[in-house]
Symmetry: C2
Subunit: 611 residues, 2 copies
């Protein structure tokens, strides 16, 4: 279906908004009146700009407080409307949105509302314009879609129809099934917005917290289904008021918006992009660093072995069990020190995974990075992390490991004595990467979860608040259904210039975190010390023996428990902004130790030089 977006959904000048909408592949726009008023372009110039960009102007919006008013007031409204209809002619827009009145002058009289809207439609028709009447959820007398439609029906004019808005319908708790009773040709327009489910004043909710379909809690696909079955032929158009998007760059926001419509169409059965190929494991995590020594020392103390080196680039492969870490000291090393730059995802169908990612607008990275590299499909996540789709153990597909030359005196990398599966390693060895923690750009946190869900086929857990000493962080985990891939997406308390500056980490799974931590320390590794008061609290809450508690205290091991199992974990020191975690999951524990995060964050702040 055709896609459209209201200019109010994007930041910047009208020109910036239009450019962003066009680049993201939208077919049309709704022009928000204030954006036009503030633009230095004339209506004719805006019309030409849209035409150059391949955008139609699908709606001019909004007209307010028109109907069900005393006749002298209505005369003034008609005068105002006539001005706007002339403007719309210059603009080349043929549909105008009229919101149900919130004016204290409006009376509760459907017959008067219908008569005045009919008069407005007659005037509009003279200009070749159609009027789409919409119920605001906080309209004074008309606040539900079926009420708005009954007035439109009563008015009975061909230039008058209704506009449906998913937010206004679903925020009121209306049943969208009744939409199917409206003749499709009388649904002049469909505006779509999702929103997180919140118990709050509906006007504030609408003005500040709307989001793109799939980012909130409404069943937008279900609503679209009803609208399509009613026979609606117009565009799917996004109208999102959101304080965060207002600050974000228009370009990425427009891409996120378009992706949300692609996913929505798939969910509503209106489009069939390539099916998701859910990753089945983490093949590797790639760190870039200007200085390999500090991270190499930690990896070595953790029991990793440098098993291979890339044939053409300064990239070392460090391995232990199924856990693989690439250490890249090449020009890819970002200027801000050591960081987690890429993730290899095991995929049953790497090319298929890349096809879906591309169809859902993920930037596809060049397929080969050097002539001798094995072909690897890769895309960029919204935070810039490179995602490589790999098939490490496939006999049919080229191996990414074939680009690597075994280090001297080391077993070969990809058909050597590696453990397969997650067999217990009672010696405290690491057997795989438990999860990765990535910090997201502040303005794209909601988008990141939608990206991982829709592009990669992950499930997203609820967002949790974590109290850092200097502000509230939010964290949201995305995982494959079987838990073989877990990524924790985090975001800071406020947008900062240094958005990449927060810590990232690699969590390594072991069956015996106490032994693993002891071995790490014996090999010269430094663990993050935890405050003794934490262990007094553990003693109050759980029945550990004194010996156990003393061991945990000595090693800085934290503990959590949920209905399914237990979690013990500890942390290495931090290099620039990267650190490692050793984790032991027992039973079916599903979390990431979130209750311990404030203690860990405070301990990390305490280790950091002030300022």
């Amino acid at each position: 279906m055709r896609t459209s977006i209201a200019t109010v959904s994007l930041s910047g000048s009208l020109t910036e908004k239009l450019t962003a909408a066009s680049r993201a592949g939208f077919d049309g726009v709704e022009i928000f009146e204030n954006d036009l008023l503030a633009s230095p372009l004339t209506p004719e110039e805006i019309r030409a700009r849209c035409a150059d960009l391949g955008l139609t102007i699908d709606l001019y919006q909004p007209m307010r407080d028109i109907e069900a008013v005393p006749s002298d007031e209505f005369d003034r409204n008609l005068r105002r409307a006539e001005h706007k209809f002339r403007l719309m002619r210059r603009l080349g827009a043929d549909t105008v949105l009229v919101c149900s009145s919130v004016s204290p002058l409006a009376v509760d009289d459907d017959e008067l509302a219908a008569r005045q809207l009919r008069r407005l439609a007659e005037l509009a028709q003279d200009f070749g314009i159609r009027v789409a009447y919409e119920a605001l959820a906080w309209g004074r007398h008309v606040s539900t879609y079926d009420h708005a439609w009954s007035i439109v029906e009563q008015a009975g004019h061909p230039a008058l129809g209704t506009c449906l808005d998913s937010f206004h319908i679903l925020a009121r708790g209306s049943d969208p099934k009744g939409i199917e009773d409206i003749p499709g040709e009388k649904i002049f327009f469909l505006q779509l917005a999702d929103a997180p489910l919140m118990a709050m004043d509906v006007l504030q909710w609408s003005r500040h917290y709307r989001c793109f379909p799939g980012q909130g809690g409404f069943d937008i696909a279900g609503l679209v289904g009803h609208v399509i079955r009613a026979g609606y032929q117009g565009p799917l158009s996004l109208e999102v008021f959101n304080d965060v998007f207002r600050q974000a760059e228009a370009g990425p926001t427009a891409v996120d918006a378009q992706r949300s419509l692609l996913v929505l169409q798939e969910a509503a059965g209106l489009a069939e992009p390539p099916a998701p190929v859910v990753p089945s494991g983490i093949a590797f995590a790639e760190l870039v660093t200007p200085d390999a020594e500090p991270v190499s020392a930690i990896l070595e103390a953790l029991g990793f072995t440098r098993t291979a080196r890339h044939r053409g680039k300064p990239v070392d492969l460090w391995q232990q069990g199924e856990a693989r870490v690439l250490l890249n000291t090449g020009p890819a090393a970002r200027r801000d020190g050591t960081s987690l730059a890429a993730i290899g995802l095991e995929s049953p169908d790497p090319a298929g995974a890349a096809r879906r990612a591309e169809a859902l607008l993920a930037p596809v990275l060049p397929r080969r990075r050097a002539p001798e590299d094995a072909p690897l499909d890769a895309v960029a996540a919204p935070d810039g992390t490179e995602l490589f789709f790999c098939a490490t153990d496939s006999s049919e597909l080229p191996h990414w490991t074939s680009d690597f030359e075994p280090a001297e005196h080391q077993p070969p990398t990809h058909h050597g004595a590696r453990r397969t599966g997650h067999k217990p390693s009672p010696d405290g060895g690491v057997h795989h990467i438990d999860h990765l923690a990535l910090t997201q750009p502040w303005h794209q946190f909601d988008e990141a979860a939608l990206f991982h869900r829709s592009v990669l086929g992950f499930g997203a857990q609820e967002s949790v608040d974590v109290a850092d000493p200097y502000g509230l962080l939010r964290s949201r985990a995305v995982t494959s259904a079987d838990g073989s891939v877990r990524i924790a997406l985090g975001v800071g308390p406020a947008p900062t210039a240094d958005e990449g500056g927060r810590a990232q980490h690699i969590a390594l799974a072991t069956d015996d975190v106490v032994t693993a931590a002891r071995r790490f320390r014996a090999a010269g590794g430094r663990l993050l010390p935890m405050p003794p008061n934490y262990y007094d609290d553990l003693a109050a809450r759980y029945e550990f023996t004194d010996d156990e508690l003393e061991t945990y205290r000595e090693l800085g091991i934290l503990y959590d428990r949920d209905a399914d199992g237990e979690f013990r974990h500890c942390y290495t020191e931090t290099v620039d902004r990267v650190f490692f975690e050793l984790v032991q999951r027992d039973g079916g524990y599903r979390g990431y130790g979130a209750p311990n995060a404030p203690v860990r964050l405070a301990a990390q702040h305490a280790r950091r030089p002030v300022g």
Copy 2:
């Protein structure tokens, strides 16, 4: 009364929190358990630190999910409590907060709750500890203060009392009058928090939006009155969960917090700080600039005359009617270019105004800046702006203008031919400063309004949202009752490193903005051009003649109307981050042209070099 603050109300490590509370003059603290757990200090070290800082530990908090549970669960709770009582002994804290249970295990059985709380109190008594039981607004079975009190009464143990929390009481809409029925000695503790009036989930409201008394919409002083009349003898203690304060520096937040309690005590009749002395006009606005030329050129084109120069410093006085602008090129010039650094406020009692400011913790600035300066009382506002209390026309007090030497060929400054009062100047002349617009630090926006209200005796209007192309701004006006002083406080959409970087402006009152704008342009001044589409919209909304509209369009004059009158205004170009506005108020218009702000902001962005 003694004042106290919960450590959760301040950001940083426990040490930083304690230091900030002590410096701001608090007598005690509530130690929030998580702050203790995350601290590297032992309980004994925390106790010693508090003693060194002159702080008592008034409360340890919170214990949760204790009461009305099955007996095996209650046994575990008692075990946990005993651990915490031992900890409190080490800490030297003798009162613990127990919140009403939210556990799914809790049953609706007051008798059981009372029996278990009595058992807890018996145990506490063995440790010399008192238990303060509080109703959470979202407690599972106990959510109102009178219910919590009835359980405490039923339990009937001397070591068991109740804790009252203004948020939990007022957010539920409970009538606080019933507090007077509780014996004062059974009110073990009083926690205070205000909150903006919002229709939202009470748990989210409490966890993220609490604020200090006077910053929100609750009648905290009324509630405190009831508590005092009940005979409460404990401290007034702040417990504020707020996402913004979590990110703000602890030091300024603690001062804001203490000020809120001083103002609260005044409002509740518990303290009598020096009475407010409301300013009666704006004596001057002082701009600091590294280069006087651009601003001087604008002032000259606006019709200002350089009437005098400071005897000892590179400060020029520019004057027109009662509007005075000081242009300071001395070392006070901040490194970030031209800015509005100080405001002279006409005061009927400058020394009295300064005494109140000092009593309410406003930093008092050195009284004289150079040996020959006339004594001037001055304090710093939260945004760093210097506020001078002046008596320009007093015959008894020293004149600030006596530090200035009349410029050659100019009439003397302070007893010359100046107009007095706001007489009409039909020639388009400026007769006074209409208002000043200041940008506030993001983390202190609510505090700024409280400062201007409490320290200066201004009234605060509602906060309004203003759509900038790159994010939503908020603006809130503070004014003297007669409108002689108006200050618009603004804040950006997000905290930035460059918080002083946003525009400030001086709005100048004229009786004829068209003539004033024409004269300015004829004298070489550059007005901010406004988009033509804005004038098409004016034509649609109001019945201006074509000539009027053409004039407004030509000069970039904006228009607004309210129930009381009309407002016409236009803007000069911007120098660094300062610009001037010419405003014509007719009738009793009370606003600042907020509906036009998005158009003005877009026009200013359009004039700015990209990047």
